[in-house]
């Protein structure tokens, strides 16, 4: 019980600090132009990283499972310019179907 509360306090404080550090350090000031370019590119690089990790991360490195089928279906929906809701439904539906058919 105590161990759980220490984990809640320490992880909570660390996460709040990580989320807030940019706000404290950058203040409300506009960024210098050079830094601005990097910040604008944070979104595509980080989103790409999140796509890769949340599609492929397994217990032991890379795992190819039903998520890959789901994200591939989402990619097809995106190419066909489907609205976001349809894209998400394709991802969930195909991943669920793949699992029902026996994929991990």
């Amino acid at each position: 019980m105590t161990e759980a509360w220490i984990a809640v306090a320490v992880i909570g404080a660390a996460t709040i600090a990580l989320k807030g550090a940019g706000t404290v350090v950058l203040g409300g000031r506009p960024l210098p132009a050079r830094f601005d370019a990097v910040v604008a590119l944070l979104a595509p690089s980080l989103l790409a990283g999140l796509v890769v990790v949340q599609t492929l991360e397994g217990d032991d490195g890379i795992a190819l499972d039903a998520r890959v089928a789901g994200v591939a279906a989402a990619a097809v929906a995106l190419i066909l310019r489907a609205p976001l809701l349809v894209v998400l439904a394709c991802a969930a539906g195909v991943a669920a179907a793949a699992r029902a058919l026996g994929a991990a």
């Binding site: 019980m1 161990e3 759980a4 984990a7 809640v8 320490v10 992880i11 909570g12 660390a14 996460t15 990580l18 989320k19 550090a21 940019g22 706000t23 404290v24 350090v25 950058l26 506009p30 370019a37 910040v39 604008a40 590119l41 944070l42 979104a43 595509p44 690089s45 980080l46 989103l47 790409a48 990283g49 999140l50 796509v51 890769v52 990790v53 949340q54 599609t55 492929l56 991360e57 490195g61 890379i62 039903a66 998520r67 789901g70 994200v71 989402a74 990619a75 995106l78 894209v87 998400l88 991802a91 969930a92 539906g93 195909v94 991943a95 669920a96 179907a97 793949a98 699992r99 029902a100």
Partner: protein, 242 residues
């Protein structure tokens, strides 16, 4: 009365752009964020339930996991720390796993900071709502729409924390959310928003480099590191010409 000197729609436009030194949020933008994140919030709720069940099994009790969902408010870190504790691992290992997974919030916090308005306390509070999904939904033409992040973040918080409450109190009826493919919705959301962002050569380079770094590190680096390392894609692309 400054408000009376500008037309109402002009004022709304200023708020939408977040240009004025005004901490008031544009309501339509907040609602747009909440609406856009709704399907993802449903998935987050289901995972909140399974987190609550896991935390209970890990011996965290009822109140601590709920408090953690409000304060830490980061699914992967909470799952990781509860798993370590559930397997009888050391407290330090649980903390380390969670902090590594949340290192990406340093980058997300920097990305969202220039868009925040108002006094420091308010900006810090809004920064807490910038989680992966709400931050992603706030993206528009290379900048972050603050109102959308807040609306989406609040919606996700309701789902994640509400799900946690159900899970710790004893909900197990839903079963594994992955069986419904809900885990595939998160990368699909990030992919959809990424497609809208990579309009020029530099953004494409940043995304491609980030993805390659993440793939290369996945088999060797501890969880959390591949994502934060993907940020190097932004640094490399910023140095490149055009």
């Amino acid at each position: 009365m400054e408000a009376s000197t500008i037309m109402p729609d002009e004022k709304a436009d200023c708020l939408r752009r977040g240009r004025r030194d005004d901490s008031a949020l544009a309501r339509p933008e907040v609602l747009a964020g909440a609406r856009a994140v709704l399907p993802i919030a449903v998935a987050a709720t289901a995972f909140g339930v399974s987190y609550g069940i896991l935390a209970r099994e890990a011996g965290m009790g009822v109140v601590a996991p709920i408090v953690m969902s409000f304060t830490t408010f980061a699914g992967s870190a909470q799952f990781a720390s509860a798993s370590v504790l559930e397997q009888g691992g050391a407290l330090a290992a649980a903390v380390l796993a969670a902090v590594l997974l949340n290192l990406r919030y340093l980058a997300i916090g920097i990305s969202v900071a220039p868009s925040l308005r108002g006094p420091l306390v308010r900006r810090l509070a809004e920064a807490q709502l910038a989680v992966d999904e709400s931050w992603a939904i706030g993206q528009e033409n290379g900048r972050v729409m603050r109102g959308r992040v807040v609306g989406a973040g609040l919606m996700l918080m309701v789902g994640w924390c509400g799900g946690t409450v159900v899970g710790v109190i004893g909900g197990g009826a839903l079963g594994d959310p992955s069986a419904y493919g809900l885990d595939a919705m998160f990368p699909a959301l990030f992919l959809a928003l990424l497609v809208g962002l990579v309009k020029d050569a530099r953004a494409k380079r940043a995304a491609l480099t980030g993805a390659l770094i993440a793939i290369a590190l996945l088999p060797v680096a501890p969880p959390g590191v591949p994502v934060i390392a993907a940020v190097a894609g932004a640094l490399i692309a910023a140095r490149s010409r055009s």
